[in-house]
């Protein structure tokens, strides 16, 4: 949990200074250090949700809800809460996908595991 919080804080404070897609690059790097696919997927989803959740929540309560409502209307979602939920669902998916990509990339560079039968 501690690791997730640290990565989330780095992502949150780094977001304003980098392009939006840097979040996925950072999560990809984090995925490299995961030990199992489940761990990678879980870490990505949690970090992305936390980072984006704080970001969109703070925007929502500091005047951003007006624009969110208009974007929701534009997309036919009905309400700004609907838009927030839709983006969170997307973020969970993309976060998990990013860390899984990092993890899978690492697996490409690891030597194949030796089968016990060939020993």
């Amino acid at each position: 949990m501690k690791r997730i919080l640290i990565i989330s804080l780095i992502c949150f404070f780094g977001l304003p200074f980098t392009p939006w897609w840097m979040l996925w690059v950072v999560l990809g790097i984090c995925g490299w250090f995961a030990t199992t696919p489940k761990e990678a997927m879980s870490m990505g989803a949690k970090v992305a949700t936390l980072t984006w959740g704080i970001k969109i929540g703070s925007e929502f309560f500091t005047g951003g809800s007006i624009l969110m409502q208009r974007v929701a209307d534009m997309m036919g979602l009905g309400s700004s809460i609907g838009l927030v939920i839709a983006t969170l669902v997307l973020v969970v998916f993309l976060g998990g996908l990013s860390t899984m990509s990092g993890y899978q990339l690492k697996m490409l560079f690891l030597p194949p595991a030796t089968s016990p039968k060939n020993m």
């Binding site: 005047g63 007006i66 624009l67 208009r70 209307d73 534009m74």
Partner: protein
């Protein structure tokens, strides 16, 4: 006292931006078009002014006879005269620059308007299934002339009296506008301004012969011969886009002005006032009475009275019998009446003139009212596709049955709840680029076309202003939008609900910054 509410197409962000300008030579308040260096409609320490469209005909078409297909010479006044060619370059993002050669005659540019080119002129060819004619049609349009309308507004912003107002309007070219005026000395006036061509009766109503100099625009109407009035005995002046002159006015200004329904009602209201207040003026701006319905409904009801087929038709009849002719959003009566009228128009004109605007524009409501009141057996009411002879009574009843049936199919059986005018018409204020979500749709408005509160589906009072030019200026105003153009701002559309409800805001006018509420923003630096 001056009241002004120009009716325009409504968009977000709003066309207007409210502003108070104070400088060493001016203290002026009102609305401006964003980016314009001055107030367009408003008031200063001495005068106030407002605008309505003048509707002068300042665009004419000319058939041009070219010597050959190179279009380098054209025939005019028994001589071949050279054309002028100008290459316009259109830079296209991500594409090649597009060049277009425009040929000019002294009338104006040759404008390709392919579906309407005549067969009898010049060479003909078919391209993209559209008939193309190498011989062109020139467009003479006053808006193409050099002009300096901003000078008019600068001079109005700094004007101190009636003479300054008249002088300012000399520089106004196009489009023709009625400038209403009121000042602190108690003068009121109306001036029909614009550099309108001096035309003979009906000149330019049809395509003119570009070779004949008699059809040229010879001169413009001298400034002091433009329609104007100052301090008439009745104590008020006004314009609701009606014809600005009497029949003995020597110049032909236009064939089209809006029918006088709105002005008649405003005139009636003003005639009853002894001493007008700001509230009186705001109420007149929100007047929803339909003069057309008031004059025709008793006759219309007689054509339905003994032919009511079912409960829904009986209820419809009762609602319209008890109607006060107010086009109120919460009432179903305006829906019934306007829907019925639309069907009556189709039954009356379509067999004679075809679909509206396809070949002919159907006559307007004033002509229909004249037929209903004075000639109900007119041949126009007869459906030429049937053997029998129809009159107004036949068509009125037929339209009534169809109206009830259509509205039932559309809205169900609950007339009082689901057939109300605000739901049937309402107002949509679209984003200027038609982006969904950035406009305000389905606003529950009252009013309608030909009503003083001329509010429709996409148009309405774009700025309501009432100003009392007494010793201490009292002014109220509102427009359907907000001061911010950013859709994420709370001030993007914050005035719309109050605009719908007929509320206007007090305008804080003072030359002392300390008397004005709000924040002070200092621009620039001290260097």
């Amino acid at each position: 006292m001056l009241a002004n509410d120009p009716h325009l197409g409504l968009n977000l962000p709003s066309i207007w931006y409210a502003m108070h300008l104070v400088s060493p030579n001016q203290n002026v308040m009102g609305v401006t078009l964003p980016g314009t260096p001055g107030i367009i409609i408003g008031f200063n320490d001495h005068i106030s002014w407002g605008l309505t469209n003048g509707y002068d005909d300042v665009m004419d078409w000319y058939d041009i006879q070219f010597k050959d297909s190179t279009m380098t010479e054209y025939f005019h006044d028994n001589k071949w005269k050279p054309t002028q060619k100008i290459v316009e370059k259109f830079k296209i993002k991500g594409g090649k620059t597009f060049s277009d050669t425009i040929t000019f005659t002294h009338h104006g540019p040759i404008v390709w308007d392919t579906p309407y080119q005549t067969l009898s002129l010049g060479e003909k060819s078919i391209r993209n299934s559209i008939r193309q004619v190498s011989t062109g049609r020139a467009l003479r349009w006053l808006a193409h002339d050099e002009s300096n309308e901003l000078r008019t507004f600068y001079l109005l912003n700094t004007a101190e009296n009636y003479a300054d107002y008249v002088h300012a309007l000399e520089y106004f070219n196009c489009p023709g506008q009625n400038f209403a005026y009121a000042d602190v000395e108690g003068n009121i006036a109306l001036w029909h301004a614009g550099n309108t061509p001096a035309k003979w009766a009906k000149q330019g109503m049809f395509i003119s012969d570009g070779a004949d100099p008699r059809y040229d625009w010879q001169a413009t109407v001298p400034h002091h011969q433009k329609p104007h009035v100052k301090n008439p005995g009745r104590g008020y002046v006004g314009s609701a886009n009606q014809h600005p002159t009497t029949s003995d006015y020597p110049y032909f200004l236009s064939e089209f002005y809006w029918a006088s329904f709105r002005w008649n009602q405003i005139h009636t209201r003003l005639d009853t006032l002894q001493s007008a207040t700001i509230n009186d003026m705001l109420e007149i701006q929100l007047d929803n009475r339909s003069v057309f319905a008031e004059k025709t409904m008793p006759i219309i009801l007689r054509t339905w009275k003994n032919h009511l087929k079912n409960d829904l038709e009986k209820q419809t009849f009762t609602i319209l019998s008890n109607w006060d002719y107010e086009m109120n959003g919460h009432s179903p009566a305006p829906t019934l009446y306007r829907y019925w009228y639309g069907i009556l128009e189709e039954l009356t004109w379509e067999d004679d003139l075809g679909i509206d605007n396809e070949r002919f524009i159907w006559p307007y409501r004033d002509k229909m009212m004249e037929l209903i009141l004075t000639n109900p057996k007119s041949h126009w009411f007869d459906d030429k596709t049937t053997i029998q002879i129809e009159t107004f009574s036949h068509q009125s009843l037929k339209a009534f049955h169809k109206m009830v049936s259509d509205l039932q199919n559309k809205y169900g059986d609950d007339i009082l709840k689901d057939w109300i005018w605000a739901k049937h018409q309402g107002t949509d204020i679209n984003h200027v680029a038609n982006i969904p979500g950035l406009g305000m749709m389905g606003l529950p408005t009252s009013g309608g076309s030909d009503i003083p509160n001329a509010t429709g589906t996409t148009f309405g009072p774009s700025w309501r202003l009432v100003v009392d030019m007494g010793e201490k200026k009292l002014a109220y105003g509102i427009y359907p939008g907000g001061q911010s153009g950013f859709p994420g701002s709370a001030y993007y559309d914050n005035m719309i609900d109050d605009w719908v409800n007929g509320i206007a805001y007090p305008l804080s006018f003072s030359e002392k910054a300390s008397d004005i509420s709000g924040e002070t923003i200092i621009l620039g630096n001290d260097k």
